[in-house]
């Protein structure tokens, strides 16, 4: 019975995940796309929970669904309706056909390669203990085995923050000089 419930939750989350991803790609208004991406991230967090990734699921909702998406929505609101795609003229061009073919090729490659090379190894998950994926376990790994990755991540975030500030202030200078000329 519990297993059946897990399957039901998995299918609901997977369907929500795919549907919201398609919505992100197909909405014309980026505001709706960003809202759909929040749904995509939330349903992915459900899948992470089914895989015993509790800490990652919480981080996904807090960092992605919270901070990153708020930043997206601020920028979309700041830029207003100039962010919408202008409608394509005419029918599907060679670009659209090529893009769909490339997407299908990626999908086929992934599935064929995984099926060919990994088919035999994928069926037996290891047993895990109760603490798998808990903040305690993740924190211990981060501060022991993966300390270098932890520190490099902090440097990457610092550089990105400085880059964001520099881009923003540079744009403000350009804007004020443009106003002075006008």
């Amino acid at each position: 019975m519990a297993n059946f419930l897990v399957w039901v939750v998995w299918f609901v989350a997977a369907f929500a995940c795919l549907a919201s991803a398609l919505a992100v790609v197909s909405f014309r208004n980026p505001f709706y796309s960003a809202l759909a991406l929040i749904g995509n991230l939330a349903s992915l967090a459900v899948l992470f929970l089914l895989l015993s990734g509790e800490f990652v699921a919480a981080g996904q909702v807090l960092v992605y669904g919270g901070a990153v998406m708020v930043m997206f929505l601020f920028v979309i609101a700041y830029l207003g309706d100039r962010t919408e795609d202008s409608p394509r003229s005419g029918g599907p061009s060679w670009q659209v056909v090529g893009a769909v073919l490339a997407g299908g090729a990626i999908l086929a490659e992934v599935i064929v390669v995984v099926g060919l090379t990994a088919g035999g190894f994928l069926s037996k998950p290891q047993q895990i203990t109760r603490g798998f994926g808990s903040p305690e376990a993740i924190g211990r790994l981060f501060l022991t085995d993966h300390l270098l990755a932890f520190e490099v991540t902090s440097i990457v975030l610092l550089v990105a923050a400085v880059g964001g500030v520099v881009l923003g202030s540079h744009a403000r200078q350009l804007e004020s000089s443009g106003d002075a000329r006008a």
């Binding site: 015993s52 996904q60 992605y64 962010t83 992934v110 994928l122 895990i128 790994l141 990105a160 540079h170």
Partner: protein
Amino acid sequence: MRGPDIQWYVVLSALLFTTGALGVLLRRSPLIILLSVEIMLNSANLLLIAFSRLHGREDGQIFAISVMAVAASEVVVGLGLIVALGRRHIELDVDKLRTLRG
């Protein structure tokens, strides 16, 4: 492991990655391209966590958290560029952006 086997996660992740790649290839608004890149990164995250569960080790989850940090940095820089374009009143269309002069 209750519920679906790892193959289901692999197929779901491949479908999500393809959807994101199609978004990057088809859309022309840089904002939606950034959102599609997020979908692609998240499909990779799903696979990392699924294989982490399969092997019974948390290293994949560590990797996924690092990917989330890199994705957040990428969004900061990407949105900074888009705001800079918007302030200079340049049309937000990646087909029409040909030079990156300062």
